[in-house]
């Protein structure tokens, strides 16, 4: 019998994850700019015009109606705040903030309310809210709409942060985030949305546990740690290294807060070398955190210093030529590994 093969795109997998949770739990709602698009103008044939800028929420308004799928004005601080309040009062909102660089217009709700309310109310209030934000550049969105920035969210206690790397993890983490009783921020790289993964995604509801990384390729010579898009870059670099006779192990981080220290450190203790690949700005980043963690907790096991391969400490260029060079490439990662191995 043929093994079932049900390939979904990254976006379709997220859409299925959201739909699964909305069917399972009537308290789940979705809010954001153009999550439907032209809601309220059904007569004119405009309903679900967008289904989200990246079509992640397409079709939800037909199935669940306007009371559970809420098109909002361009008012991030308003609707993220409404999401926080709704979560405190018993709903399970999924709030789409579109580009992560919009954090500046809703930071107070996320950093001061969402991250702190459970603590400030002495544990009496839970906030089962999920934020999804789109990261990275995928074709000329320039400096303000191409950032990654998960590092600044991971800085705050009280926020769980996850970064799927393919359709399978995208669906599993979306469901886990929306089931979690704490605030979870899901970072969806726009650079994964056009990729043909040809990956089987089960139709059933399944969760990937928040706080767990996974090994997507085994090897003994060096550990590569990828996050979202860069996991794919790491896998491709590992293939290139294999041709040169080196076996790289690839850790797909998936959860940036909390970190799966055990998986990271046990891989490093085996390979004794680590290259961390991150498309966020480098300073005070997840890459820094991982390099620090590796140095502190695996110092005696390392044969070479931990190495970070990241975007440069500069704004993201609009020029497509420069944009390509901004993000860590397979060649950069491969070369970094060779440097560490030799």
């Amino acid at each position: 019998m043929n093994q079932e093969h049900r390939p979904l795109t990254f976006v379709q997998a997220i859409n299925e994850g959201i739909r699964t949770r909305m069917r399972e739990d009537a308290s789940t709602i979705v809010m954001g700019i153009d999550v439907a698009g032209a809601a309220g103008k059904a007569d004119e044939g405009f309903i679900d015009h967008f289904g989200g800028t990246f079509s992640m929420t397409k079709g939800l308004i037909q199935e669940f109606g306007t009371s559970r799928v809420l098109d909002t004005p361009i008012s991030e601080t308003g609707f993220v705040g409404a999401g926080v309040g709704a979560a405190a009062a018993g709903l399970r909102p999924l709030v789409d903030m579109m580009f992560v660089g919009f954090i500046g217009v809703c930071g107070d709700q996320i950093f001061n309310n969402m991250a702190k309310m459970h603590y400030m109310f002495g544990g009496k209030v839970n906030l089962p809210i999920t934020i999804q934000a789109q990261t990275a550049a995928s074709g000329g969105n320039a400096a303000q709409h191409s950032e990654t920035l998960y590092s600044i969210f991971a800085h705050f206690p009280g926020l769980k942060c996850v970064v799927p790397s393919d359709p399978y993890s995208a669906k599993g983490l979306q469901i886990a985030a929306m089931k979690d009783d704490d605030p979870v921020v899901v970072f969806q790289s726009t650079r994964l949305m056009g990729v043909n993964f040809d990956q089987h995604v089960p139709e059933d509801a399944y969760e990937l546990p928040i706080g767990k990384s996974r090994i997507v390729r085994s090897g003994d010579d060096v550990t590569l740690i990828g996050i979202g898009t860069t996991t794919r870059t790491c896998i491709q670099a590992a293939e290139s290294l294999a041709k040169q006779g080196y076996e790289a192990e690839v850790v797909d981080l998936l959860s940036i807060s909390p970190l799966d220290e055990e998986t990271i450190l046990s891989s490093i203790s085996k390979t004794r070398k680590v290259v961390i690949v991150d498309e966020d700005y480098p300073k005070c980043s997840v890459a820094s955190e991982l390099a620090a963690l590796s140095a502190e907790k695996a110092f005696d096991l390392l044969d070479a210093p931990p190495k970070r391969v990241t975007a440069p400490h500069s704004s993201i260029p609009y020029s497509s030529v420069l944009e390509q060079l901004h993000f860590p490439s397979v060649e950069m990662v491969t070369n970094a590994c060779l440097e560490v191995i030799n």
Binding site: T77, G101, F102, I103, G104, V105, C106, G107, D108, Q109, I110, F111, N112, A115, K116, Y119, M120, A142, A143, Q144, L149, S151, I152, A154, H155, F156, P157, G158, S257, D280, Y281, K283, C284, S285, V286, A287, S288, E289, A291, A292, S294, A295, E296, K297, F299, D300, L302, A304, P305, P306, K307, R308, P312, H313, S314, S315
Partner: protein, 347 residues
């Protein structure tokens, strides 16, 4: 020989003196923020505040409301106005009272201030200074006690400095105001003191003449050979106290006062660590993706073969700042904990 005259100022007085001197020197310097004067437009109340931490007192009386602008509680508005004013030729200082208010003006700071020079192809300079208060220890609870410089440092296009005493506070504010790029100055509440007193570390000599402390340079307030303690702002004082404890135990600690968080003075950090071969990084900010992480990563990458022991980070816990004074006192890394961390690698 004549001994050096001591002209003792508090941290707030030193910053205030920098502002007065820069206002006098350059008429394009202006100041905006909530209660930077207090009661502006009402003669009987004018300068009632002079800033919540008294950094800006006396400026309105001397330079008037055109240059010292009390704003409404509207961070996004006045921070944006400051960015625009800087782009069009003024040299504004904007006061973001508590750093935790970044959430209500993040767009102006992260998307405009940090990126405009780049996005306009270098044709626009933003000679803008943001001052903001940081730190726990005064019972201001979770939303008004954060440190958060780490998230500003994350962004390219922002220079970030954190003074640790009245002398470098004056010099760094002057340097920040004169800089042609956006600079954020993080002023720790315990160092500023205010209503509670003159502030920790007050009373050192501060020259009356105007001077700059260079952005991008760390300081080394104590030399030693056994371990490097890296402090940032208030934790530098904690490191100096820890160094005394260590001395009593027979160990010689070198203290690096980071001062400039972005750009980093890699030379000063690495040369100290290469000498002592051991390092403890002390940071009051949340630990994840922090300055401490950055320093630990930098040292691991660039000085790996020199280290006798793993770099150690001593930070606040990954938890919100407690309101309870008992818990709050435990929150900030103490000299005892710093000494203990150092001893754990030295003994």
């Amino acid at each position: 020989m004549v001994s050096t005259p001591v002209r003792a100022l508090t941290y707030a007085q030193a910053v205030n003196e920098s502002f007065h001197q820069e206002f006098e020197r350059d008429p394009s310097v202006i100041l905006m923020g909530e209660d930077v004067a207090g009661g502006a437009g009402r003669d009987e109340f004018e300068d009632a505040w002079g800033g919540v931490f008294k950094l800006t007192g006396g400026l309105i009386a001397k330079y008037g409301p055109d240059r010292v602008r009390d704003t409404p509680i509207s961070e996004n508005g006045f921070m944006g106005a400051a960015v625009g004013a800087a782009a069009t030729g003024l040299r504004p200082i904007a006061d973001l009272m508590f750093v935790g208010f970044v959430g209500v003006c993040g767009d102006q700071i992260f998307n405009n201030m940090s990126k405009m020079h780049y996005m306009f192809g270098g044709k626009v300079n933003l000679p803008l200074t943001v001052i903001t208060s940081t730190g726990a220890g005064v019972g201001s609870a979770a939303q008004h006690s954060e440190t958060l410089y780490s998230i500003f440092v994350h962004f390219p296009g922002l220079k970030c400095v954190a003074p640790s005493n009245p002398y470098n506070a004056k010099g760094l504010h002057t340097a920040a105001i004169r800089d042609n790029d956006p600079v954020i100055v993080f002023n720790n509440k315990l160092l500023m003191g205010g209503a509670r007193g003159p502030g920790t570390g007050a009373g050192i000599h501060v020259p009356e003449d105007s001077y700059e402390f260079p952005i991008g340079k760390a300081d080394r307030p104590r030399e030693g050979t056994d371990v490097t303690l890296i402090g940032i702002s208030y934790t530098t004082l904690q490191c100096l106290k820890a160094a005394e404890i260590l001395e009593q135990k027979g160990f010689s600690a070198e203290v690096i006062d980071l001062l400039s968080l972005s750009p980093l003075d890699e030379d000063a950090i690495l040369s100290s660590v290469k000498k002592t071969r051991n390092v403890v990084i002390v940071d009051e900010d949340y630990p994840m993706c922090s300055m401490a992480s950055e320093l630990s990563a930098l040292i691991a990458e660039q000085a790996f073969d020199f280290l006798d022991s793993p770099p150690i980070r001593l930070c606040a816990p990954h938890a919100s700042v407690p309101y309870s004074p008992v818990l709050e006192a435990e929150y900030i890394p103490s000299p005892e904990k710093i000494a203990q961390s150092a001893l754990s690698i030295l003994e």
